[in-house]
Amino acid sequence: MEIKVLQDILSANDRIAKRNRDLLDDKGVFALNLMASPGAGKTSLLLETIKRLKNKVNIAVIEADIASSLDADRISKEGVTTLQINTGGDCHVDANMLNNALESMSLQGTDLLILENVGNLVCPAEFTLGVDRNAMISSIPEGDDKPYKYPLMFSVANAVLVNKIDLLPYVEFDFHNFSRGVSVVNPKAELMQISCKTGEGIDEWVSWLLAEMKK
């Protein structure tokens, strides 16, 4: 016999994402999922963000890596609560991994929770987590064709940050081509140019984040 199923393959993940959403709402926490390829500047952006915000909002960080605690060590030096999760080979964080992390943290008094996802432009985009906003970084040396090659990632990002703009004198990068690709897959995405090295654009990013937290 043939039966109609019409069920999303990741519906089990989506159900847990809904639980995460409820848990975050319950504790009054705004959660940001930060995604990018390895080396685009996720940890550097986190450090810059924490520096500018730690006296204004109470921040907690979840660092997800396939292995090691190098990133968590860098972040915890800034004096914010940091939880390292190792995905043990998985290329992304799914709703269940985030749920386990959330359950193990007190989150008491936390205003802003930032998840640094596993460095990858494909898999993390597929898994709904139940967070408030998704942000992604694409860096100048990666090239201006990334929205065309990894459209799903760009389609789920509320903010797209182009990092390492201090390298523009040395690297070919066509902003027009890049932003056109982003607008086709995600016309609502907020596009920002930043440099974690010089600090350019970081204040704009932080203002955007604070404004989203108030919404």
Partner: protein, 113 residues
Amino acid sequence: MHELAITQNVLDIALEQAEKHDASKVTRINLVVGEMSGVVDECVQFYFEFLSKDTIASDATLSFERIPITAHCYDCDTTFPLAEFNWVCPNCQGSNIEVVAGRELYIDSMEME
């Protein structure tokens, strides 16, 4: 790499449906996969053979219907598949376009005995 998680979910849903319908064997699972999802069919097939061993779905055929990344032009109201490197409307050459399909990832139907 995310195919492992995706395949596990496909198998879980298939076995759940089979139990609900008192089936003794799952013979076919029809999947719909958008091109934007980055799912590699061969990879799902490989994991499925491994994961479904010793289940009533071990002999099931997986069928993949691929949905191309499709865009709509707001200037001339044309809907068209996106070419890999030229993201403009093929009708009016405009760039006021937006992706409208290609993110699908679901089980459409199943066959069981």
